[in-house]
Symmetry: C2
Subunit: 187 residues, 2 copies
């Protein structure tokens, strides 16, 4: 399938997931929304679950190229800024909110798991380079670092509904890397 057609299908899928929740998402609805016929969709994706997983993992809307700035601090700041950029888009916020409600739906929960596992696999590059540079303290737990940082952005923007304030990414990263608690540190 041509990449442009595929992206159109993925974005239609994510839009329907955001608007109607996983239960309201159907392959038929995606066909209608994307203008691609249902038979074609079923030729590429055997089920709604397969389509939803591919849309989450491969849509350009949620794309993640792990940053490579030359330092762990720089990479993590760029990563947090990327998450901030994503969660500022109403379309992405709605998809994330739908995933947050996945607990009651095993199929959506598996789909969300696949998405976040894929993201974490990509983020590993940041920590592997840090390890090679000797930047990463021994015993560091990369998933905990990522969950603290991304979680602070979700909490502030999606739950608390408050602005992040100046230099949020740098302040959060410095706090987690054991720097000064919440105050800016020179680069």
């Amino acid at each position: 399938m041509a990449p442009r057609a595929q992206e159109r299908i993925f974005e239609a899928t994510l839009r329907l997931l955001a608007e109607h929740g996983y239960d309201g998402l159907t392959v038929e609805g995606v066909a209608k929304e994307s203008g691609v016929n249902k038979t074609t969709l079923y030729r590429w994706w055997s089920s709604k679950a397969a389509l939803a997983r591919d849309a989450l993992v491969h849509s350009e809307l949620l794309a993640l190229d792990p940053p490579d700035t030359g330092s762990l601090r720089g990479d993590l700041i760029a990563l947090v800024e990327h998450v901030i950029g994503l969660l500022t888009l109403p379309s992405v916020r709605a998809v994330v909110a739908a995933m947050a409600g996945a607990a009651g739906n095993g199929e959506l929960a598996e789909t969300a798991k696949a998405f976040f596992a894929d993201r974490f696999d990509r983020e590993q590059a940041i920590f592997e380079r840090a390890r090679e540079r000797g930047d990463l303290p021994p015993g560091a737990d990369p998933m905990l670092v990522v969950d603290l940082l991304a979680g602070a952005v979700w909490t502030r923007l999606l739950l608390r509904q408050e602005p992040l304030g100046d230099a949020f990414a740098a302040r959060a990263v410095d706090l987690v890397l054991g720097g000064s608690p919440g105050s800016p540190r020179p680069a």
Copy 2:
């Protein structure tokens, strides 16, 4: 109103919010679900928004007594464990997921804001005591500390749908307090 009747109304409100979203929540529905008649509900709460806000802020289901263990580290670990306890309850997870989707709905967004502002007011006690003890580094940003810690729990449990692992609360707090990154530290 008797506290027990009030709590029944609050829990009915949160259950309907979790099940049907804010748009599907009605004072009529709460009357039916709680067995309290609609006129009585309107005597106490002038609108659905007022009822939802009170239910979030005052329901025992979401109660928060800020811990007082004698140290900032101990208080934060207890706070994270409290958040973990809450987010392990399906009923609470569903309410939080509904709030995460508030961006598109001004009234629910205001309600979520009121809830999290109330929680943060209560959590201030932890940081005030730490400041008095000289436990809190100058320039520390309490809201950032809380958002990192609570956010890590939401991210791991609601989005990533992965287990927290051993001693999650202590490891997260030690990392944020500038201790060893992710490895346990003696109490």
